[in-house]
């Protein structure tokens, strides 16, 4: 067995309460070192040794992601938490202790950055054509139909370009309220299950005290704008714990 590292905190007194345990139901425990606590569990070495074998095994990936998320979120409910990248494993707990000592400053910086803040997601979609041109009448002839169809295609391209510009404006407005902002690549239509194109997949680190303000802002942006918005959250601050941020 090897040690899977889920998250690091600095004021954890006990193992987070996760009914289903960690990955593959493994029992969670704390490794305490250098004023930090790592939440870990034992995992099967073989399963994590050859990750190439799992790269396209999405059932496995989903299971690990859900378990990882369950633990990180349970910690984040009551504490500032630094989530680890998915599938960070060490040979034993002593190695985790060594890593906590070595990376103490990095963890402290992440915990300082996310303390008292939540991550929120704002996604924007092109508004469906049906909603844009509900007033269009029934074509009177074949030629009229083709003309209308060409017009609709042109309008579609223009609508996407306009939606992308508006997405930038939404992003800027939400980012102005946030402590930090980051844009993930828009999700493909095949993943969202929505026929409308996604034009914004933003992540925002927001002071917990500004939560209501954020909700109002997004509501306002949706009311006044011409793209459909989706707000997700609060998330533990995954998008703001990495090196890039």
């Amino acid at each position: 067995m090897i040690t899977y590292l889920y998250a690091v905190g600095r004021d954890l007194e006990r193992v987070p309460d996760v009914g289903s345990g960690g990955i593959a139901g493994g029992a969670l425990r704390l490794v305490d070192e250098a004023g930090l606590q790592a939440v870990v569990s034992d995992v099967d070495r073989e399963a994590f040794e050859d990750l190439e074998a799992h790269r396209e095994d999405l059932a496995w990936l989903a299971e690990v992601a859900r378990a990882h998320h369950g633990v990180v979120e349970a910690v984040g409910r009551e504490h500032a938490v630094a989530p680890l990248a998915l599938a960070t494993v060490y040979l034993d707990d002593d190695r985790v202790r060594a890593v906590l000592r070595e990376s103490r400053a990095e963890f402290a910086a992440v915990l300082d950055r996310v303390d008292g803040r939540d991550e929120w997601g704002v996604k924007a979609y092109v508004r469906p054509a049906a909603a844009r041109s509900a007033a269009a009448g029934r074509p009177s002839s074949g030629a009229a139909y083709l003309r209308a169809r060409r017009e609709a295609l042109r309008e579609g391209d223009a609508a996407i370009a306009a939606a992308e510009r508006e997405a930038d404006a939404v992003d800027a407005a939400v980012a102005a309220l946030a402590v930090e902002a980051r844009r993930h690549p828009p999700q493909d239509r095949s993943l969202t299950g929505r026929s409308e194109q996604m034009v914004l997949n933003g992540a925002y680190l927001v002071e917990r005290s500004a939560t209501d303000e954020l909700r109002r802002l997004v509501e306002e942006l949706a009311r006044d704008g011409s793209v459909d918005l989706e707000l997700t959250g609060p998330w533990v601050p995954y998008s703001f714990a990495g090196r890039a941020s």
Binding site: V110, E219, G242
Partner: protein, 90 residues
């Protein structure tokens, strides 16, 4: 106007959309060098496969056929309690 808000289960058992979770898990988190020098960070998902996975997990929520229906649901959510429900204290 349409705003949809999905709680991400911090305080409930609502399922998080896997695609939203993987966005974050594969591009976020503290990146350290593990002992087996492996990490899933940056894995580029095989999207067709992921779609198959998502469909198998939540068949009722996937597919463009549902788009019209979900659009209606989304619209209905505007101004609802869910939109303004605050984070519980504590």
């Amino acid at each position: 106007m349409t705003v949809e808000h999905r709680e991400t289960s911090l305080f409930g058992d609502r399922e998080v959309a896997l695609v939203d979770l993987l966005d974050r898990l594969l591009a976020g988190g503290v990146v350290l060098t593990g002992d087996l020098t492996i990490s899933l960070a940056g894995v580029d998902l095989v999207r067709i496969s992921l779609r198959a996975l998502i469909t198998s997990i939540a068949p009722a929520e996937s597919g463009p056929i549902e788009a019209v229906r979900s659009e209606r649901v989304v619209s209905e959510r505007v101004g609802s309690d869910r939109l303004v429900k605050g984070r519980p204290d504590g």
